[in-house]
């Protein structure tokens, strides 16, 4: 036994001898659950019609945040969530798939988690925690960047932006295959794979493997649900047959009404109609049926995620670890609008067929099907908020956050205090009584955490996390925001945004319906100046005026995926050109 081992043994012996008093001070287990592309009102405790009993129970026993914000896209959120460091300083200001080549030249614009930051998993592992991860990573997939080398003791992880939920298959052709890894090595999925079930099974397996030693664990469970392709087992998707027949506009109204009742938004909260929302009545009955089915599958996928999360909760109760466990559930960004509402076009069907997918009504949600909910239902899923994933509107950034567990010592059940994704790591560290690294870690300098512990808020020791004059800046692909007190300065780029700054009071008007820029010119100007300062302080690189995230993604994908083929074509031409010229010369 080495010296560290001896001291751990002594500490454990003392803890056992000291009995309940010291045992109560044992750091709690922490289960951090991240849904993918889950909209603000997609859970029952946030106003949804979708059956989510597990999360409902956690919300009842714990606390709901109604003003929690994250990045509007996947990887930047994950980077900030796990480090407490701003995305422009931790290497992940955007997803790597859509960063322009010019920006990629900058060290902090690679789209992979830099070695200038330390993950919460590393810090907890150093403090004696077991650290497990089962789910999506998307922060780099070279060996040194995989979670197995970023503080996680046991991992099973999908390294891409998404993947099929039924089999090991890339969901879009930018990936030659779905890149799954187990403990740092490539792995293959079992034949009976369904993502949410598999990830929870693996997490239970990891927890059980070390349950006997009594050490606390940190379990990071980033689900694939409900990222595209939206897929769900029949038992779950068929539960929602007929629920969405009235269409997206009606659903958005229902979500608003329910959110008002629950106090998730103010009683007089309004909402805008997004320009991308289609006119439900203009669709044929056949297409209405089709679109409703898309949403039924989506609801089934959310339901299935909740069901499998429930298995983990029940398992922890069964093995006696529930009482000393803290659960944190959130989403990586708002609802996903990609896929469009014209998904049955010939072009779309052919494109899917080329990728060995179909979006036929009868098989929607099954293996081999490719489903999305499109911008109209995405607005309902984000309802009553404006915009959705990728955009800096509330629908892209405001997501559910539920925290529960006896070790939290909660004094509140709901809060409308502003909180941000970088606050999660400091909160976890505070729970575990672990300090953030003081500027250096592992012999190298690291970025300081900018987030704050939410514990004083949870325990009613304070009413806010950030004071009314403490700004929080945000930028992703040119969409930008600055939060200051109850106000938000926001700019959304085309095609959905107008590229202009707007000012909203997001506490009284979470739907961003009343632009206050004209009424509050001084605040408007001050917040713009604060945003400029944020951009300078954090090395935010501007995007070119013609930057379009989708087009850049396609360009990068073509470059990444087809450069060898294009090069091969050119080389073949060059090699055979002399033969052709000689042949022509001989014939002449």
């Amino acid at each position: 036994m080495n010296r560290v081992g001896v001291w751990r043994f002594v500490a454990l012996a003392l803890a056992l001898l000291a009995g309940p008093r010291l045992a109560a001070a044992t750091p709690p287990n922490i289960v951090l659950v991240l849904a993918d592309d889950l909209g603000f009102s997609d859970l029952a405790p946030y106003g949804s019609e979708i059956d989510t009993p597990t999360l409902g129970a956690l919300a009842r026993e714990g606390i709901r945040f109604t003003n929690y914000h994250t990045a509007a896209s996947c990887a930047p959120t994950r980077g900030m969530l796990l480090t407490g460091v701003d995305s422009h300083r931790n290497g992940v200001p955007n997803i790597p798939e859509t960063i322009s080549p010019q920006q990629q030249e900058h060290a902090n614009y690679r789209g992979t988690l830099g070695h200038n930051v330390v993950t919460v998993a590393s810090l907890l592992q150093d403090a004696g925690y077991h650290t497990y991860m089962a789910g999506k990573w998307h922060l780099g997939q070279t060996p040194d960047l995989l979670p197995f080398r970023r503080g996680f003791e046991r991992t099973v992880t999908m390294a891409d932006s998404g993947a099929d939920n039924w089999e090991q298959k890339a969901y879009i052709p930018i990936y030659p295959r779905a890149n799954w890894y187990a403990d740092g090595e490539r792995t293959t999925l079992p034949g009976d794979f369904y993502s949410s079930r598999f990830l929870v099974d693996k997490m239970i397996e990891f927890i059980d493997a070390n349950a006997a030693d009594g050490r606390p664990f940190f379990a990071y469970l980033p689900f694939q649900a409900v990222h595209i392709p939206v897929q769900a087992p029949a038992a779950f998707r068929d539960k929602y047959q007929g629920v969405y027949d009235a269409g997206w506009t009606e659903l958005r109204k229902q979500r608003l009404a329910r959110a008002r009742e629950l106090g998730i938004v103010p009683p007089d909260a309004g909402m805008v109609t997004m320009s991308t929302t289609g006119d439900w009545a203009s669709y044929s009955p056949e297409m209405q049926r089709y679109h409703a089915r898309r949403m039924e599958v989506y609801a089934g996928m959310v339901d299935a995620m909740d069901h499998h999360l429930g298995r983990l909760v029940e398992h922890l109760k069964r093995i006696g670890r529930y009482q000393d466990t803290v659960f944190i559930f959130t989403s990586d960004n708002g609802s996903e609008a990609s896929g469009g509402d014209d998904v049955r076009s010939l072009g779309m069907r052919l494109a899917l067929r080329l990728n060995d997918y179909s979006n036929d009504y009868d098989t929607l949600g099954e293996q081999g099907s490719f489903n999305s909910i499109g911008p109209s239902f995405a607005s309902a899923a984000a309802g009553p908020l404006a915009f959705y994933k990728f955009y800096a509107g509330e629908g892209g950034m405001r997501v559910p956050l539920i925290m529960a567990g006896a070790p939290l010592l909660l004094e509140r059940q709901q809060t409308d205090a502003f909180a941000y994704v970088t606050d999660i790591t400091p909160t976890i560290l505070a729970l575990a009584d672990v300090s953030a690294p003081p500027g250096r870690y592992g012999g190298r300098p690291v970025e300081p955490m900018v987030g704050r512990s939410l514990l004083p808020l949870l325990r009613a020791e304070s009413d806010r996390v950030y004071g009314p004059d403490e700004p929080i800046g945000y930028e992703l692909a040119g969409n930008a925001a600055l939060f200051l007190g109850d106000y938000k300065l926001v700019r959304n780029r085309p095609p959905v945004g107008d590229d202009q700054w707007h000012l909203y009071n997001i506490v009284t008007d979470p739907g961003e319906t009343r632009d206050l820029a004209g009424q509050m010119p001084q605040r408007f100007e001050r917040m713009q100046a604060l945003y400029e300062q944020y951009a300078v302080d954090n090395g935010v690189l501007p995007v070119s005026p013609d930057y379009d995230q989708a087009s850049q993604g396609v360009y990068n994908a073509l470059k990444e995926r087809f450069t060898p083929q294009i090069l091969l074509l050119v080389l073949t031409f060059l090699v055979l050109l002399p033969f052709w010229l000689f042949y022509r010369y001989r014939r002449a």
Binding site: Q565, T572, V575, L576, F579, Y583, R586
Partner: protein, 124 residues
């Protein structure tokens, strides 16, 4: 008949040139096509050089044969094809390799095609 034969020979040559060049620009993909992993270090160097040039040279010999219309140029790539088939048999018989019937068949067919083309198309 001769035109069809010439087209078949050119297609075979094109396949070999592309395969050879692929070892230069996408060695992992080229290796996977042949059912092998991409090796590491010095082994990768030999793997890329020897296999890549095997295909590239075979293809260039075929195009040289078509352009010059000389029988001996048809015989060179044919010899390479039959040689590869024989080495596959040796690998199977004496060194526990799999019996890759597809590969042997392709090499024998292309080799025979080149011999036949040499007899029909050569002008010397």
């Amino acid at each position: 008949m001769n035109t069809v034969l010439k087209v078949l020979v050119v297609l075979a040559g094109l396949f070999f040139v592309v395969m050879g060049l692929r070892w230069a620009v996408d060695p992992a993909g080229a290796a996977a096509t042949l059912g092998m992993p991409l090796l590491e270090g010095a082994a990768r160097s030999s793997q890329m050089a020897d296999i890549g040039v095997f295909f590239l040279a075979g293809g260039l010999f075929i195009f040289t044969a078509v352009i010059t219309a000389r029988r001996s140029w048809y015989h060179v790539p044919a010899l390479i094809m039959f040689g590869a088939a024989i080495y596959r048999l040796i690998a199977w018989l004496f060194h526990d390799a799999a019996f890759v019937v597809d590969g042997i068949a392709v090499e024998v067919i292309v080799g025979s095609l080149l011999l036949f083309a040499g007899a029909r198309l050569a002008r010397d």
